[in-house]
Symmetry: D2
Amino acid sequence: MWITVKKDADLSDVKASLTELGVWTQSLQQEGGPGRSLAILPHSAAVSSERILKIPGIDQLFAAESRMPKVDAQSGQILQEENWTLGQAPILMAGPCGVESEQQIHQAAELVANAGATFLRGGAFKPRSSPYSFCGFGQEALVWLREAADSHDLKVVTELLSEQNVDQVAKYTDLIQIGSRNMQNFALLKAAGQTGVPVLLKRGMAATVEDWMLSGEHLLAAGSRHVVFCERGIQSYDQPFRNLLDLSAVALLKHVHKQLVIVDPSHGAGRKDLILPLSKAALAVGADGLLVEAHPNPGQARSDGPQALQEEDLNRLGTLFEQSEKRAPTLCLKD
Amino acid sequence: MWITVKKDADLSDVKASLTELGVWTQSLQQEGGPGRSLAILPHSAAVSSERILKIPGIDQLFAAESRMPKVDAQSGQILQEENWTLGQAPILMAGPCGVESEQQIHQAAELVANAGATFLRGGAFKPRSSPYSFCGFGQEALVWLREAADSHDLKVVTELLSEQNVDQVAKYTDLIQIGSRNMQNFALLKAAGQTGVPVLLKRGMAATVEDWMLSGEHLLAAGSRHVVFCERGIQSYDQPFRNLLDLSAVALLKHVHKQLVIVDPSHGAGRKDLILPLSKAALAVGADGLLVEAHPNPGQARSDGPQALQEEDLNRLGTLFEQSEKRAPTLCLKD
Amino acid sequence: MWITVKKDADLSDVKASLTELGVWTQSLQQEGGPGRSLAILPHSAAVSSERILKIPGIDQLFAAESRMPKVDAQSGQILQEENWTLGQAPILMAGPCGVESEQQIHQAAELVANAGATFLRGGAFKPRSSPYSFCGFGQEALVWLREAADSHDLKVVTELLSEQNVDQVAKYTDLIQIGSRNMQNFALLKAAGQTGVPVLLKRGMAATVEDWMLSGEHLLAAGSRHVVFCERGIQSYDQPFRNLLDLSAVALLKHVHKQLVIVDPSHGAGRKDLILPLSKAALAVGADGLLVEAHPNPGQARSDGPQALQEEDLNRLGTLFEQSEKRAPTLCLKD
Amino acid sequence: MWITVKKDADLSDVKASLTELGVWTQSLQQEGGPGRSLAILPHSAAVSSERILKIPGIDQLFAAESRMPKVDAQSGQILQEENWTLGQAPILMAGPCGVESEQQIHQAAELVANAGATFLRGGAFKPRSSPYSFCGFGQEALVWLREAADSHDLKVVTELLSEQNVDQVAKYTDLIQIGSRNMQNFALLKAAGQTGVPVLLKRGMAATVEDWMLSGEHLLAAGSRHVVFCERGIQSYDQPFRNLLDLSAVALLKHVHKQLVIVDPSHGAGRKDLILPLSKAALAVGADGLLVEAHPNPGQARSDGPQALQEEDLNRLGTLFEQSEKRAPTLCLKD
């Protein structure tokens, strides 16, 4: 946003009023003329145009049109499906990185259900940096995953990797996951969107929040019923972390844009010993749920074993949700 | 760390045992020989050498000597001064960016005391990107700050900017702040350390946790009684944030290295509208306290006004601490 | 790599020998034993195992197996197609961001041919952050592009965005471009690879060189005749740049891994006024060619107009190649 | 910069004219009114206000006042000292990381002089991450350094670490180096500036170009005769590099801000095997010189040995300067 100041106004008064609202400004002067203006910097607190125009001394306010009307329309909405909902009390989504056998996913489902989770996760199609790594059992694994979830009264979230599998995946899942590496795979976003099924959209490795939301717009424009954003850590320069979990982005999406946000603390740091504290932080910052890797036997996992929780820790994690159901409404700045 | 595997051991069994402990490994083969070994990657869960050596099949384990014995010696310690303490229930440190007048800092102290804070913050010497910005009133401001704090039963934390002011600052403050821009100003660290006064060491704009801890070692080696680490956000590539608050680093320092950690959510995102959610996240992840900017009249602040809380919001923030005093011991992974 | 040191060897002599070779080491001590070892840090100069094992005092050397044998097999190879080649004298690839009309691409082809380029670039399918932006004319544009190139004796490079268009794109292009956003779209890599056509693989927005090379391995494993790497800038935290052109990565790929590398200075900084200096730097660091945006009328471009060169500047850029054809062999460190 | 568009003007014509100049814009609409404006994005090509105001249809242009008038005043200037100069043909500055003995620095000076260098570098005071590492011989080393330089007709550049050593360092050096870790140590900048001696200002680990230039303004405001900027690599997320050499920043400082810029390719990547290619790139992009680590016997170096060049490679590097003296004037975009 950008503001012009009235000729007879006191510029420092105008700036003081904006400052009190949490707005950062930069002063600009008209070239060859007396005009004065203020640019509103992007890390300002969100303040409506109406509120700003009430400040005495402001002449005109210029703003860019939103590039994401359909994401904006989701603002403040919960996701209400036939037999599950997202956006009221936070929920737990858990399960193994990959679906490795019928038996493994059934054991995992039991573990996950016992911890109080709502969703079972598990990859039938796995994106892998190396072409020689285990890449999932595909169609077969989708069937196992659905059956394991159904038999434990869980919903399913699983990743879609290829346009060619879109109908297959849409058929077996309640929530289609688009992974970090495909956040801007626009062909896949379109295909996923056309199914109508709600999508869990993971953030790209160094994506801006704006680009992430624009990818959500791609999905909604193509037909998704709802887009849920999932923060899973961005590229970190620091070696003790696999990724850098960005809870500021969660706060922004949740408290400013009022979107549904899930946090993945497993990939978030990649460290099993930090999953519980980061989960607590994620819920405290306002996340609508957690997506966590859990495995009945991490030592046998074909991928991501070191970050998979076992029974005892998963149950501890589950207790966070019991507490949070009773929590008071989010503490926020006054409007 | 690096491990060699016994000749007759099953490598996949060894890897499975490590994976269950949350340890990421990379397999390495001896050049021109039969030896097998595993490198332990730095984003592994912290596991002791003793625990690893119990795994059947492991032959030798090689580890680097710690580069920071004095920081290690602080592990698990609280900071116990004559009439204040840090590391038990979390505390609040608040106040204006700069000490701007005797009246302003007294008003701020009242605000801060009313919100339940333990420390009054305020800069007598201000680091500023531009040489033409307000850089503090120096000595005079130190006196005002101390008096304002004393008259409201608050402790003082203030920044040291120059070796030349070290005695002056040490005389008036309970906790010397070293700012982000000086995290690796080793001459200043030495001077601050020699006073013995505890130090709040802010993280540099793109510092690794290791370099941050090594700067703490500089302080302790020079004589500081205790070093407290303060996360205040790192360089962000995303414009809606002034900085990127890295709560993973807080989790690592707190739960793995067991150090005292304060979080500054004001600089953390630079957005007034995200301070409360990020504060809640910081306490949830385990921070020992918050350092927050507050001003009786942000519109008149000479620096950082847009991120300064006013009375009502500061009081809301204060209520977080009442809750956290009663909180159960931190939920952690089993040892 | 990890090294064990002989019992009777002088550790500092061993380290000195490694240091002279440009190798950074970290010392490790055996837990509960006398063993000494050295970890070789990843930012060391590339030195062969054979060379290291010749150092007196070194006992055993452990190394990881390469994760990308097919990329390794490309090392030092040029790309020799029926009527074009890459890897001898550097070449110029230029053209508009998008193919916007038959007339536009013919004009562009003339411009590009006159500047001495070998390849015509132009997008028939355009990846766009927003779903409401121009996304290319598809199949029709492929035909225009091919005809324009052929009539000016140019080769074609164009981006593949969807698995569904792979045959179509492969038919009309000499070099399939995989864009940054799809660097780890493994389904697309597989589809592109199966055509056999050489691929220009752009680096992801925050990809490590290893992940980039592994994506190349995906292509080669699926059947690509050759993978050419294209650096186009990574996520930057600094606003005067659209992206941060990483010529260190080009140097590493070129001089250590001996791969074919193209540099895109247009997206690299996004600034028209830096394209020429960055192009010179790219050629100096060893790039096998440049991929540059040029447009007969940038003011009318439907995307990326501000970074598109016009005739005069493109011709200046072309003169860099005349000079470089005559250049002496690359100055390198002695082997 | 921000622009308002005349009521009767065609917005797309105005945008096209700006696009042709390399200017990126964002359209903004007046809230509740007919006004239209364009924000000029910071990664636009540098275009003067005068040029923009000539575009038909533009009404008013608003711009921020420069925050660094003294740096601006250096624009296009060379540095002319009594018996050396910077900014004409590029020069070589070389020498060991630390001054380790009288003999070592004399040997180094001979090496450096033979390679055709103008400056001898070497640290008398060394900033070290760990307090237990070698931190230089101080005053004594300054004397050795000066004598070694004088006896080989070289100038001296050496780092200032503490306000307490400013007179001492200023006495023995021709160019005071401020290191990365102290780029925003404003007390040190002031002290260094007050000596009047020209300063080589290294960029902080994640500094924006604007903050870097503002630190230059601190120096000039305090009295430095000239500030020379030195790019030495920023924080990298990729392990094969010690730092990420940012030649885009060099291009911006050189071709847009027309400042004197030196590149340090030794720290730039930390890899001995990439120093030569990166040096060539630095000169090609327009650097006024290189600052390179060289040691008569790197195996015995007390710091940074693995990135220190030896005689043969330093001589090869020296030949780059012979070529560049004869080079044609820099190829630039037309004005």
